[in-house]
C-alpha cells in the first residue's frame, strides 16, 4: 500500500482541516517547514475548538476551581472532590451535540460512553449518570425522531454498561430546531489515594493500547464538532462514532482490575481525536516525548492509513504507560476480559511526538507545542444588553386554575416519565431518589449513612435575556436543587453550549455567562472542577439559546434524613421560604408568558446571591434537624407549578390562602429566585413554629405560612379547586401522547 504523506498542503486542504490561514502560518513557523499530511491532521485535531478551547480559555481561567475539598480541578479527565473517609467523587459533564443531531442513537450513546470513560479512567467506578437534553419545537418535523433516537441511545449505552441514571433535563425550544443539545454527566467513586492521572513519568517505558480495535469511524469528528452546520449535514454521518457498551463494560472492569495491580503509571482515554490527543497529552504533561509505531495498533479494517489511525475516534479505547515489570500481569487481565492489549510505543526524553508506519516516519513534531502553542483568542464581544423589564401593569390575565392545569400538561412542565423509564434508574441498588424530584440521590456503598446528590440545571430563556444573570441563575438553581434534598453542595461541572464565537454578540453571551457563573460559584463556595465547551451550535447562521448547563454534586451525611418533593402527610403547614413580601413578582421570561401567551419578553429574574445562600443554609438545617417534612424549590412555572408537583408526587392536595393586594398571576406564576416550599408538622400556634420564624427573621428570610396540606384538591386561593388526579393526568399525559403523534 502506498501512502502519500508528502502531498502538497494547499490552502484548500488547510481550510478543509478547519485551520485558518494564520493558524497554518503559525504551524509552519513552529516546525520550520511544511507539515506532512499526517502532521496536518494531527495539528487540526489538537487545534480545533473542541480540543484546544481556543475561544473560551481566556474566560474559563476566571472561574473558581479550588476549595478545601477539591482534589483535582479542570485539566484532567474529570474533577475529583473529597467526600471524607478516604473517598472521593469523580465527575464531569460533556456534550455530544453535533453527532447526536446527525445520528441521534449513536451520537447520544457514544456521548454517554465517553463521559463514563472519563470517570473510570481516573480509577473511579461510575455510580450515577444524568443527561441534559434540549430539542427543537415539539411540532418541528425532526423533533420526535431526535427525541426517540437520543433517549434510546442514552438508555442503550447506560443500561448495558450498568450505571443508574438518576436525573437530568429535557427541554424543547424552537431555537434548538437545527442543533439539539446532548450533555452527558457521569460520577464515580474512588479512594482518594488511588486516583489515576494522565501525566506520564519515566523514559523508555511502554505505551500500551487497550480496549477495542481502531476503525475508520469518527475520523475528523472533533473538527466536525467545531464547525457550524450547513445544508450538507447528511454528508457528515460517517464522522459519527459507533458505540459498544459491552466492550466499555469489559474495559471498565479490566481497567479497575489493572489499576489494582499497581501497573499503571499514567492513563488517558481516547476520546476526541483519539490516539493523537491521548498520546500528546500524556507526553506533554510529563515533559516527555512519545514514539508510536502504528504497525502495532490493533485495527479492525485493512489498509488504514496513518492519517486515519491518528484521527480515528473509535470508541472504548485507552492508552496507558505501564511499569514494564508488570506488563505480563497487565496483559493477563486484558486477556481475561478478551480485550486488545498492544504495546504501541514508548516514552522518550526528546520532547518529540514521532509516529512511525511501515518503516517510515510519518510525523515528527514538538510535543509540548501541540498543546501549549495552540491558538488562544481574545475574540471581540459586544456589551451585554439585558432585555428590558416588563411594565408593572403588564400582567396578562387568565384563570389561575386553567393556567395551572394547562402548564402542568405543557411540554415544558409535563412529566418526563416517558424518558426516564427507558433508563435503568435503580441498578446497583443504591438509588435513594430517582428522577422526578429536585435531585437524584444515591447512597455511598460501604458507608452506613452517606449519600450523594446530583442535579443538572440551566434556564436558557434567562441566559438569552441576560447572559450574566442567566449564568448566575444556572449555578444558583443547581445549588438550590441539591440543598432541597438536604445535601451540602460540594462542587459543579459546567457544559457551556453556545453558537459561533466568531460573532461578537455570541461571544458576548459566552463572556457574560461565564462571568455570572464565576460570580455565583464564588458567592456559594461551589467551585467548578471540570467541564466542557461546545461552540458553533448554529445552523445556517441561526444560533441556539445560550445554554451553560451546570451539573452539581452534593453530599448528604445521612440520607435517611433527606427531603423529597411529595407532601408527606395531611394537615401540615406549607411555608414559602425565601419569598419576597408579596410572594411572587417577576413575570419576565416566565413559562407563563412563553407557553400561555407566546411571549419571550421581559428581563431575566435577578438572583441575590447572599440571600440565596442564607435561605439555602436555613432550609438545609430544617431538613437535617428533621423539621422539614417535604421540600421543593420553585423554578419554571413558579409557586403554582411547584405546589402542583408536590401534590402530584404524593396524591395529597393543599389549600393556599391568597395574599390580598397582590395579583394572583404574579403570586402563582412569577419566577422570583431563591424560593423553596417547605412543609412542617408543627402546631401553627406553638412555640416551635414561632422559634422557626424568629430564626428566619433574624437571618432576614421571609418564610410565610401560605396554606395547609390535605384533601384531594389543590386549591389556589379563590381559584377553582383542582383535583390532584386531574393535575396528575395532565402532567403524565403530554409526553406519551406527543410521542404517539397525538399532541405537539
Amino acid at each position: 500500500m502506498t501512502y502519500q504523506n508528502d502531498i502538497a498542503i494547499t490552502p484548500q486542504l488547510v481550510a478543509d482541516h478547519g485551520l485558518k490561514p494564520d493558524e497554518f502560518e503559525k504551524i509552519v513557523a513552529l516546525i520550520g517547514r511544511q507539515p506532512t499530511y499526517t502532521e496536518l491532521g494531527i495539528f487540526s485535531a489538537m487545534w480545533n475548538e473542541h480540543c484546544s478551547y481556543k475561544s473560551s480559555k481566556k474566560w474559563l481561567k476566571t472561574l473558581p476551581t479550588t476549595g478545601p475539598r477539591v482534589i483535582q480541578g479542570p485539566g484532567e479527565n474529570a474533577g475529583v472532590v473529597d467526600i471524607g473517609d478516604g473517598q472521593a467523587v469523580v465527575f464531569k459533564m460533556e456534550s455530544h451535540n453535533h453527532p447526536s443531531f446527525i445520528e441521534p442513537y449513536q451520537g447520544a450513546a457514544t456521548g454517554v460512553g465517553g463521559i463514563l470513560r472519563d470517570v473510570f479512567t481516573m480509577g473511579a467506578r461510575p455510580v450515577a449518570a444524568m443527561n441534559a437534553l434540549r430539542f427543537g419545537a415539539p411540532d418541528h418535523e425532526k423533533t420526535r425522531h431526535l427525541v426517540s433516537g437520543v433517549v434510546a441511545g442514552v438508555g442503550g449505552y447506560g443500561n448495558a454498561f450498568g450505571v443508574p441514571t438518576v436525573g437530568g433535563e429535557v427541554e424543547f425550544d424552537e431555537r434548538y430546531n437545527g442543533n439539539i443539545l446532548v450533555n452527558a454527566f457521569a460520577a464515580g467513586l474512588a479512594d482518594t489515594d488511588k486516583i489515576f492521572y494522565s501525566k506520564a513519568e519515566g523514559v523508555g517505558l511502554p505505551v500500551v493500547y487497550l480496549g477495542a480495535k481502531t476503525g475508520r469511524d469518527g475520523v475528523g469528528g472533533a473538527t466536525m464538532a467545531s464547525a457550524e452546520f450547513g445544508d450538507d449535514i447528511e454528508e457528515k454521518r460517517p464522522t459519527v462514532q459507533v458505540g459498544d457498551p459491552f466492550t466499555e463494560k469489559r474495559l471498565l472492569e479490566a481497567c479497575l482490575e489493572l489499576m489494582a495491580t499497581g501497573a499503571v503509571i499514567a492513563i488517558q482515554d481516547m476520546g476526541a481525536a483519539g490516539l493523537t490527543c491521548s498520546a500528546v497529552e500524556m507526553g506533554a504533561k510529563g515533559d516527555l516525548g512519545i514514539e508510536l509505531d502504528l504497525d502495532k495498533v490493533p485495527v479492525r479494517e485493512t489498509h488504514m492509513t496513518p492519517y486515519e489511525m491518528m484521527l480515528s475516534e473509535s470508541q472504548e479505547r485507552m492508552l496507558m504507560v505501564l511499569h514494564p515489570e508488570k506488563e505480563a500481569e497487565a496483559r493477563a487481565v486484558f486477556v481475561k476480559w478478551e480485550l486488545d492489549f498492544a504495546t504501541v510505543g514508548k516514552t522518550t526524553d526528546d520532547l518529540r511526538f514521532r509516529v512511525l508506519w511501515q518503516g517510515q516516519e510519518v510525523a515528527n513534531l514538538p510535543i509540548k507545542d501541540l498543546g501549549d502553542e495552540a491558538p488562544e483568542y481574545d475574540r471581540p464581544w459586544t456589551p451585554s444588553v439585558p432585555a428590558a423589564a416588563l411594565a408593572a401593569d403588564d400582567i396578562p390575565q387568565v384563570d389561575v386554575a386553567e393556567a395551572l392545569l394547562k402548564l402542568m400538561g405543557s411540554h415544558q412542565i409535563a412529566s418526563r416519565r416517558w424518558v426516564y423509564e427507558q433508563y435503568d434508574t435503580l441498578i446497583q441498588g443504591n438509588s435513594m431518589q430517582r428522577p422526578g424530584g429536585d435531585a437524584g440521590v444515591i447512597r455511598v456503598e460501604g458507608h452506613a449513612t452517606k449519600g450523594l446528590a446530583f442535579t443538572s440545571d440551566v434556564n436558557p430563556r434567562y441566559c438569552e435575556a441576560d447572559p450574566y444573570e442567566g449564568g448566575k441563575q444556572a449555578v444558583a438553581e443547581a445549588w438550590r436543587n441539591l440543598t432541597a434534598t438536604g445535601a451540602e453542595p460540594l462542587a459543579a461541572t459546567d457544559n457551556l453550549n453556545f453558537g459561533n464565537p466568531e460573532r461578537p454578540e455570541i461571544m458576548s453571551q459566552l463572556v457574560h455567562a461565564i462571568k455570572g457563573i464565576g460570580e455565583a460559584c464564588r458567592a456559594l463556595d461551589f467551585p467548578i472542577v471540570s467541564g466542557n465547551v461546545s461552540l458553533y451550535n448554529e445552523t445556517n447562521g441561526q444560533g441556539i439559546l445560550p445554554t451553560p448547563t451546570i451539573g452539581g454534586v452534593g453530599l448528604l451525611p445521612d440520607w435517611t434524613k433527606m427531603a423529597r418533593i411529595g407532601f408527606a402527610a395531611e394537615n401540615e403547614m406549607i411555608l414559602l421560604v425565601g419569598a419576597p413580601a408579596t410572594r411572587g413578582t417577576h413575570l419576565g421570561q416566565s413559562i407563563y408568558l412563553r407557553d400561555l401567551f407566546g411571549r419571550r419578553d421581559g428581563s431575566a429574574p435577578h438572583v441575590d446571591l447572599a440571600h440565596e445562600r442564607r435561605t439555602g443554609d436555613f432550609v438545609r438545617k430544617l431538613i437535617r434537624d428533621g423539621v422539614a417534612t417535604a421540600v421543593h424549590d420553585l423554578s419554571d412555572g413558579g409557586l403554582g407549578v411547584a405546589l402542583a408537583e408536590m401534590s402530584v408526587a404524593s396524591g395529597i392536595g393543599a389549600t393556599i390562602v391568597d395574599l390580598n393586594d397582590q395579583d394572583p398571576i404574579l403570586q402563582y406564576f412569577g419566577e422570583d429566585q431563591g424560593r423553596y416550599l417547605v412543609t412542617v408538622k408543627l402546631d401553627p400556634q406553638g412555640e416551635e413554629i414561632m422559634a422557626l420564624w424568629n430564626e428566619a427573621e433574624r437571618l432576614g428570610i421571609f418564610a410565610p405560612w401560605i396554606g395547609t396540606t390535605g384533601g384531594a384538591d389543590l386549591v389556589l386561593g379563590a381559584a377553582r379547586p383542582l383535583p390532584v388526579s386531574d393535575l396528575k393526568a395532565s402532567h403524565e399525559g403530554w409526553f406519551p401522547a406527543y410521542m404517539d403523534g397525538a399532541a405537539a
Binding site: 443500561n159 448495558a160 427507558q422 435503580l426 441498578i427
Partner: protein, 222 residues
C-alpha cells in the same frame, strides 16, 4: 446455606445480586467466572441480570452455550436450586433449562419501573416466603421480557403450576402472554423471572417485598 453467582462478561446486576444474597444470608456467595472449571458445591446457583455478550446475537444466546452452563445443567438435574433473573432468565431459556422464549417488549422500548406481581404458586423453594395469591411490588428493568410459548407448552406450564409469578393489577410492562413474569421447570427447582427482587430488599429501596424470595430459599437450605 451456600450459594454461587455465575458471572459472564457483560452482566451488570451481579453486584446487586451478590449484595442481596450477602445481606440476607449473612454469607457472601461464591463468585464463579464463566471460564472457571469448578462450580463449588452449593445449594443455590444464581445467574444475575445484565447484558451478557452485549445481547448481540439474541439475549442470553451466547452465554447459554458456555461450558459452565453444562455444569449448571448437571446440578439442576441433581436437584440444586437454580435462579435466573432478567438476563439470567434469558440464559436459562436459551440453555433449554426452561421452556418458551422472551421477545422484545411490546413497546419496543427498554422499561424500568415498579410493577405488581401475583404469587401464583407459593409451594416452591423460591416462593415459600409468600402466600398463594399474594400481590407484591417489584421493579423491572429490561428490553426483552415479553414471554411467549406455543399453546401446548403454555397449557402444560399453566396446568402443572409452573407459573410462579404473574404481572398483576394491569402492570404487565412488556406484553408477556398470560401476564407471565416467572416460570419454573417441571421439577420446580429452576426459576427464571424478569423482575428484580434483589433491588427491593430493604427500606432504603423503598420496600422489601423481594426479600422473602431469598429468605425463603436460604432459610430452607440452612
Amino acid at each position: 446455606m451456600k450459594s454461587a453467582v455465575i458471572v459472564f462478561p457483560g452482566l451488570n446486576r451481579d453486584r446487586d445480586m451478590i449484595a442481596a444474597l450477602t445481606k440476607i444470608s449473612g454469607t457472601a456467595p461464591a463468585i464463579v467466572w464463566h471460564q472457571d472449571d469448578d462450580l463449588p458445591d452449593v445449594d443455590l446457583i444464581v445467574i444475575p441480570g445484565g447484558f451478557s455478550y452485549g445481547d448481540y446475537l439474541r439475549c442470553g444466546a451466547i452465554a447459554a452455550r458456555s461450558p459452565i452452563m453444562d455444569r449448571v445443567r448437571d446440578r439442576a438435574a441433581a436437584g440444586v436450586n437454580v435462579l435466573g433473573v432478567c438476563n439470567g432468565f434469558q440464559i436459562l431459556l436459551e440453555a433449554g433449562l426452561l421452556p418458551g422464549a422472551l421477545m422484545r417488549n411490546q413497546s419496543l422500548k427498554f422499561v424500568c419501573r415498579e410493577v405488581k406481581l401475583e404469587v401464583t404458586n407459593a409451594d416452591t423453594a423460591f416462593t415459600r416466603g409468600y402466600t398463594n395469591g399474594q400481590v407484591i411490588r417489584c421493579p423491572v428493568a429490561h428490553h426483552d421480557g415479553n414471554y411467549f410459548a406455543d399453546s401446548d407448552t403454555l397449557a402444560r406450564i399453566e396446568g402443572e403450576g409452573r407459573v410462579a409469578f404473574r404481572y398483576a393489577d394491569g402492570t404487565n410492562p412488556n406484553g408477556s402472554i398470560n401476564n407471565i413474569a416467572g416460570i419454573l421447570n417441571e421439577r420446580k427447582n429452576v426459576l427464571g423471572l424478569m423482575p428484580h427482587p434483589e433491588n427491593l430488599i430493604e427500606s432504603a429501596h423503598g420496600g422489601d417485598d423481594g426479600r422473602a424470595l431469598f429468605s425463603g430459599l436460604l432459610g430452607q437450605a440452612a
